[in-house]
């Protein structure tokens, strides 16, 4: 994708400020940029991930969870990172992490299924789209950067759409032996439909190597698996992994710490696994909605609205910063008297990050990824 002089001028100073202009030069040539989308299914608690300890209402609303937040790495005068996110704190200090707070998609209700559908589809109503923003992104990329893969048993909505994508799900079953693979290969060799499918499945399997044996349970292993699928010259360039277990209605303290430790290791393993390619990699971590500002009666939090999204990578526009138009946690400031009020569109955060990463005109990226929401 080449930015023309006109689109740059049309996008105005925003583009310059975001640092897209210097990237134009290399945008013409095929580069090795990589994108990983980590979806947090179950509504991750943004107020625990990046805690606004500088907000005067925070401690009272979060009670014991607020004490825990005070022990995390300081991001700026307002926010601390959850203490389990030690690796992420290091990345933040190195300007390789960014927190976008008080964000939400266009969804304003509290159903996981509808919320995830809108996060992935990127439309204005649940089940309003049959394709996802990641697939729409592919249409903006040169053919060499369109290889997309999800570590999932079926193609998640975010990756569904006009352009072909693959999935890979590690199996717990014993691996088939080489003889069986060879026999199947010869069986399918002359089949027009099955041969290419089989061929690409075998290729994927080889890329995954040994790491695929353990069902990707642990964050570090999942991250290493994702990196092993993205790192090779002919590997995936756009990737999506799914994480669950964020629905912390009760006993949040321990459960969320374990989740975030897994996420921290996932991101760390991706960076390690990609090596030098990390410099041209963007990782987006996002969830369907946030959780209530107040702790509920069982040491957890219930379904809310605003949350936080995390960006990681070697070439972020605003690494080492928290961006937020902070609405405050005072009683009058909450949405419906209970939730963090979203003041920024998560869709815009994602589209702008992607535009910066690929050197795309932000207006064009917004329109292509979210034609209804950001029209």
């Amino acid at each position: 994708m080449i930015l023309t002089r006109r689109t740059v001028l049309a996008a105005g100073l925003g583009v310059l400020a975001a640092g897209a202009l210097p990237r134009m030069a290399c945008a013409a040539a095929p580069t090795s940029r990589r994108l990983l989308f980590v979806i947090q299914r179950g509504a991750a608690d943004g107020l625990a991930i990046a805690a606004p300890i500088g907000d005067p209402a925070f401690a009272a609303a979060r009670r014991a969870l607020a004490d825990e937040a005070a022990t995390g790495a300081e991001l700026d005068g307002m926010f601390t990172l959850h203490p389990a996110l030690t690796g992420a704190a290091g990345l933040f200090a190195a300007r390789e992490a960014h927190v976008a707070h008080a964000v939400a998609t266009a969804y304003r209700d509290r159903s996981h299924f509808d919320g995830q559908n809108m996060l992935e589809g990127g439309g204005t109503r649940p089940y309003g789209r049959e394709d996802g923003w990641l697939n729409r992104l592919l249409t903006l990329l040169p053919a060499s950067e369109r290889d997309a893969l999800a570590i999932a048993p079926a193609v998640p909505l975010a990756l569904r759409g006009a352009l072909p994508v693959g999935t890979y799900a590690p199996s717990r079953l014993p691996q088939a032996d080489a003889d069986l693979i060879a026999r199947l290969s010869s069986l399918y060799a002359k089949d027009e439909l099955l041969h290419p499918l089989w061929d690409s499945a075998i290729k994927t399997r080889e890329l995954a190597g040994d790491i695929g044996g353990n069902n990707g349970r642990n964050g570090a292993e999942l991250g290493a698996l994702a990196a092993s699928l993205m790192a090779p010259v002919d590997g995936a360039r756009v990737m999506m992994v799914e994480t669950g277990g964020w629905d912390t209605h009760s006993g949040q303290r321990g459960r969320l710490a374990a989740q975030l430790r897994g996420l921290d290791q996932l991101v760390g393993a991706v960076k390690t696994g990609l090596g030098v390619a990390w410099a041209n990699t963007l990782v987006i971590v996002a969830t369907e909605f946030g959780r209530t500002v107040a702790v509920n009666g069982t040491g957890g939090t219930d379904h809310g609205t605003g949350s936080a999204a995390l960006l990681f990578g070697g070439a972020l526009a605003a690494g080492g910063q928290v961006s937020a138009d902070w609405p405050g946690l005072g009683e009058g400031a909450l949405l419906d008297g209970r939730d963090l009020k979203p003041t920024r569109s998560l869709e815009a955060v994602i589209a702008d990050a992607v535009a910066h990463h690929y050197g795309l005109d932000p207006a064009r990226a917004r329109k292509a990824l979210y034609p209804e929401v950001l029209a």
Binding site: R63, D109, D114, H249, S250, R255, A257, A258, T298
Partner: protein, 401 residues
């Protein structure tokens, strides 16, 4: 001829080689509902809730002892922090045994079942009222949940099935109801006052999922206020023997571990307004009254009828199929109706309601052929074929006809 095979696949679990031929699919389905055995020998032989609860309690005690001994915690599952892996495996094995035994009994029963249509309905309802074995407290109960909350009710009324599923320990533990206290309940108030700290309180997880997943369905007009009020009405329901602290000291005498109990001192006092209707505080009766109303709400009928039609026909079931499954001839004068009572479903599916025959599967195609005038028959036939998936099956059956 092929219709018989289709019936075995679409409504049953496939044909065994020694199954007698199905001459009359409609009668075959209806007979199964009459013959269904909720507790065949493999299931009847399993241990009950008290043994399952005891396994969990022992596991928890072991875990606590090990934690005391372990100096520093290795960062693993937060619940199992500090446990030696080998000891953890041993401690869990008793709980897992209940799970594995349950899975085996379920499979054995399904394979040997003379009533595979009823087994399919059991699996459908277990899926509809899903619980997850992700939480350690739930693992042991998952088999018992299907056997004691679902199976006995699949040929009964939906309201009874709903109440049994909601009240089972597996559901109360999975969706956090077991530890949800009324914010103004006597116990929460006392803790707040005595210890000068925020007491235990509400958890709205179960209330929301009942409305969204089990009854009305998402986007049917209920509000956050309805969820909160319903969560308050549900307080007091918990499981004996499993919790700690205030709740456990109030357990009724003689309540066996793993038994569902209602503790008035945990219940939020007062009237609740849900979906515009006021429910007086009648203790456990309050939530039950809400559940009974939800069970016969038109949105519930629409939601579940669609799921049933989808399960037995196509991902995108034809509207006629949905409407007819949710609205049965004998119920037309009794609004707001509409429970897909399994017997009625079977009758509708198998030919009791004419418009369902076409919509709900190719079984109906034969009936449509027999009953409808020629021109209409052809149109309905084509419509049914278009709606039936997968296409390969539909085509095969069409050739057979």
């Amino acid at each position: 001829m092929a219709i018989q095979y289709l019936a075995a696949n679409r409504f049953g679990l496939g044909r065994r080689w020694d199954d007698p031929a199905i001459h009359d699919p409609r009668a075959w389905l209806l007979r199964q509902l009459a013959d269904f055995d909720p507790a065949p020998p493999p299931i009847a032989a399993l241990e009950g809730r008290a043994a399952i609860a005891t396994a969990y309690i022992e596991y928890r005690e072991d875990r606590r002892a090990m934690r005391r001994e372990a100096a520093e915690a290795a960062p693993m599952s937060e619940e199992e922090k500090g446990m030696d892996p080998e000891l953890r495996r041993l401690a869990r094995s008793a709980i897992r045994r209940h799970y594995v035994d349950g899975v085996a009994a379920r499979l054995t029963t399904a394979v040997a079942s003379p009533t595979p249509f009823a087994e399919r309905l059991t699996h459908f309802w277990s899926n509809h009222f899903a619980v997850s074995a992700d939480k350690i407290a739930v693992i042991g109960f998952t088999g018992n949940y299907e056997f004691e909350a679902i199976r006995p009710h699949i040929t009964g009324k939906f309201a009874d099935l709903l109440i049994a599923a909601v009240r089972h320990p597996a559901m109360l533990l999975y969706l956090d109801q077991a530890q949800s206290f009324g914010p103004d309940s006597p116990v929460a108030t006392r803790i707040r006052r005595r210890q000068n700290r925020p007491g235990p309180g509400l958890n709205e997880n179960l209330a929301r999922e009942i409305l969204e997943l089990h009854t009305l369905g998402v986007r049917t007009g209920y509000t956050q206020a309805d969820v909160t009020a319903f969560a308050k009405a549900l307080t007091g329901l918990t499981v004996a023997g499993l919790g700690r602290g205030a709740g456990q000291r109030l357990m009724p005498a003689g309540a066996a571990p793993g038994e569902t109990v209602f503790i008035p001192q945990l219940h939020q006092p007062g009237e609740q307004t849900i979906l515009g209707k006021r429910y007086a505080d009648g203790g456990a009766k309050q939530a039950e009254a809400v559940l009974r109303d939800l069970a016969v709400h038109p949105a519930t009928a629409q939601h579940i009828a669609t799921k049933l039609a989808r399960h037995f026909t196509a991902d995108d079931p034809p509207p006629a199929g949905r409407a007819a499954v949710g609205r049965f001839p004998e119920e037309r004068r009794r609004p707001p109706l509409a429970l897909p009572h399994p017997r009625r479903l079977a009758r509708a599916v198998a030919g009791g309601a004419r418009d369902v025959q076409v919509a709900v599967g190719l079984d109906g195609v034969a009936d449509a052929r027999a009953q409808a005038p020629r021109a209409r028959r052809a149109a309905e036939y084509r419509r049914a074929l278009r709606s039936a998936r997968p296409a390969g099956v539909a085509t095969g059956i069409a050739r057979g006809l």
